[in-house]
């Protein structure tokens, strides 16, 4: 069973000490730029190495709800979602792309993952960070097909023994109700 996404409310306050934040902010920005580059180059196996072994990668469904029932608007853990993945299940999806017969990506799409609005805060556990970012993924496929996937990612980041920042949890809130694309054949 899945777990709740990190609560990003800690980011609602203005930064107090710029110096203390510069280093981690730069590090996270750089991680996200590198990650986007790997995705746009379809280097999915390399991309997967940016995640911890206990990864939970999750994109719930967004539902239109009356304002008084807004708390139910984002899918809860255990509900039908767009992604609800472990590192092993992502590897499974990636093996499909490498089969040479994944026609939805053959010829491959052109994608550009733009990652912005990055905010970083201390996580719940010592050494963990919570990072929120906005994404805009543009996909151009074959001749004229264009899809835009926009939304917010909330990550829990943790260091490996070598000190490298890895992504341990990712919650993706895609800013669409009806997904306005025929599929999602990339990662966000």
């Amino acid at each position: 069973m899945t777990t709740h996404p990190p609560e990003p409310a800690v980011m609602d306050t203005a930064p107090v000490s710029i110096d203390s934040e510069i280093r981690i902010h730069f590090e996270v920005q750089r991680l996200y730029a590198y990650e986007a580059r790997l995705l746009d180059q379809h280097r999915y196996a390399d991309w997967l190495e940016l995640f911890t072994e206990d990864l939970h990668y999750w994109a719930p469904v967004r539902t239109n709800r009356l304002r008084r029932q807004q708390s139910l608007a984002d899918g809860a853990p255990g509900e039908v979602g767009i992604f609800d993945e472990t590192k092993a299940s992502l590897a499974w999806r990636i093996r499909r792309f490498d089969s040479g017969m994944a026609w939805a990506e053959d010829p491959p799409s052109r994608t550009r993952h733009l990652i912005t609005n990055v905010l970083v805060a201390p996580g719940d556990e010592p050494g963990e960070h919570i990072a929120e970012s906005a994404f805009l993924c543009y996909r151009n496929r074959l001749e004229r097909e264009v899809d835009l996937y926009a939304g917010c990612r909330t990550d829990v980041l943790r260091r490996d023994p070598d000190g490298m920042l890895l992504i341990a949890r990712r919650t993706i809130l895609l800013d669409q109700n009806v997904l306005l694309a025929k599929n999602i054949s990339t990662f966000l």
Partner: protein
């Protein structure tokens, strides 16, 4: 649980007849030929909404989505927006989601709970039975204005089949169970495995496809053929060797059911040709299932089957996927897909089914991704004059359909266009038959 309209007859205008095209020339099913203009023509599409969607029983929702009075769910019947709601009497009703005053949707949430549906334009308000209960500035309407006549437009019939809620605008439609006909035996391989029935997990996948709704409906009725090629990558990663299925699985025996009412279902019968989730597979007591459903169903439609209930409801038994292909113009579909599970399954088995379905089917699923690619390609070439008016080949399995003595009704080989021919025959018959709403022409 048929609900009958409780409201007085609403005032109507005389019907303005719309021209209808004889679609017979677009199909020659005896020769297995289909003209592609039925995928792209706007006039034919309008005729489909009037003569295929409006008169047919259409899938709305799963019963488990409604637990207490006031629970509602919004969806579509053809292109008509509808609300399905549980009333104070716990009865399900379905209404056009359109205010009788100016036609605005009176409910713009996907799902939730409410006591009333109030239009945010002028404030006309309807209760859970669809009755108009409040009209602001009502004193300014004439004396003959009778609120009871202006309730939300209710479906003519609503009924459920083993958890699935269907409705039709057609007062003359046969009862749901007759409209499902012989297909019900095949549906039970998904809906009746558990004495407690099924339930839908929370959350509905919704996405859009470039393609005519019939491309998807027809494929789920009739097309095992595409699996080995279209889904080669998925078969490869799912095969135990990681190299793809063995030849005997690729050439799997199986049967395909063709229903005279346009429904269709196909399924392998090779015991190893199955793709169910390991945890779910381990949960089932196949001995008990054989007793409950019979050997033929356990070895047939309960395997990795596919099916369409005419016109636009499809399902995949082992993936737990049920979906409706909402038409959005001749070249666009909006898919709404649910995951259903057996009620008696322990939570961890339900969760395994949920994860398996979202990783295989649904917009990111390793099977579904490639389906979307196929349909958008088939649709885009239909725009050309030459490519768009050529006859397509629906000849596979011709002359091989018969009663097989094991599965009820007419079946053919697994690799067949038989159910597609049946689907289009039903489509043609409805397209060429005036619907109930056309009969009161002055």
């Amino acid at each position: 649980m048929t609900s009958t309209p409780a409201l007085p007859e609403a005032p109507r205008l005389a019907r303005v007849p719309e021209p209808a095209v004889d679609v017979g020339a677009y199909l020659d099913l005896d020769r297995g030929l289909v003209d592609r203009r039925i995928l792209s023509d706007q006039a034919l599409y309008r005729q489909e909404l009037r003569r295929v969607f409006a008169p047919s029983w259409l899938f709305l929702a799963h019963e488990s989505q409604f637990r207490k009075p006031g629970d509602f769910f919004t969806t579509y019947m053809g292109e008509d927006p509808v609300i399905v709601a549980m009333g104070r009497d716990r009865k399900l009703r379905a209404f056009l989601n359109a205010c009788r005053h100016r036609g605005m949707r009176v409910c713009r949430a996907d799902t939730g709970a409410t006591k009333a549906f109030t239009c945010s334009y002028h404030g006309w308000s309807y209760d859970l039975a669809g009755e108009l209960v409040n009209v602001p500035n009502g004193e300014d309407y004439p004396a003959h204005f009778d609120r009871r006549e202006w309730g939300l437009t209710q479906v003519a019939q609503l009924d459920t089949y083993k958890g699935l809620v269907f409705a039709t605008w057609n007062p003359e439609a046969p009862p749901l169970v007759e409209a499902l006909g012989g297909m019900a035996w095949y549906m039970d391989a998904m809906l009746d495995r558990d004495p407690e029935g099924t339930e839908a997990l929370d959350g509905v996948h919704k996405w859009v496809l470039e393609g005519n709704w019939k491309l998807a409906a027809e494929q789920f009725a009739s097309d095992w053929y595409h699996v080995n090629i279209s889904h080669a990558s998925a078969l490869m990663v799912m095969s135990p060797s990681g190299k793809g299925p063995k030849a005997e699985i690729v050439q799997t025996p199986g049967r395909q059911y063709t229903d005279p009412l346009g429904h269709g279902a196909g399924f392998p019968t090779h015991p190893k040709s199955r793709f169910d989730d390991r945890v779910v597979h381990g949960y089932y007591d196949y001995g008990a299932l054989r007793e409950r459903l019979g050997d033929a169903r356990v070895e047939g439609p309960m395997t990795t089957g596919h099916a369409t209930v005419f016109p636009n409801f499809s399902y995949l038994p082992v993936f737990g996927s049920i979906r409706v292909w909402h038409p959005k113009g001749p070249d666009r579909i909006e898919v709404h897909a649910w995951t259903i599970v057996d009620r008696s399954m322990p939570d961890e088995v339900k969760d395994a089914q949920r994860l398996y379905n979202l990783r295989t089917f649904g917009p990111s699923g390793i099977f579904e991704q490639d389906d979307g690619e196929n349909w958008s390609e088939c649709q885009s070439t239909a725009r050309g004059f030459m490519a768009g008016s050529m006859a397509l080949n629906y000849q596979m399995g011709m002359g091989l359909q018969a009663e097989d003595g094991v599965h009820p009704g007419t079946t053919g080989r697994l690799y067949s266009d038989g159910a597609a021919r049946g689907f289009y025959a039903r489509w043609r018959d409805l397209m060429n038959t005036p619907a109930w709403h056309e009969k009161d022409t002055p």
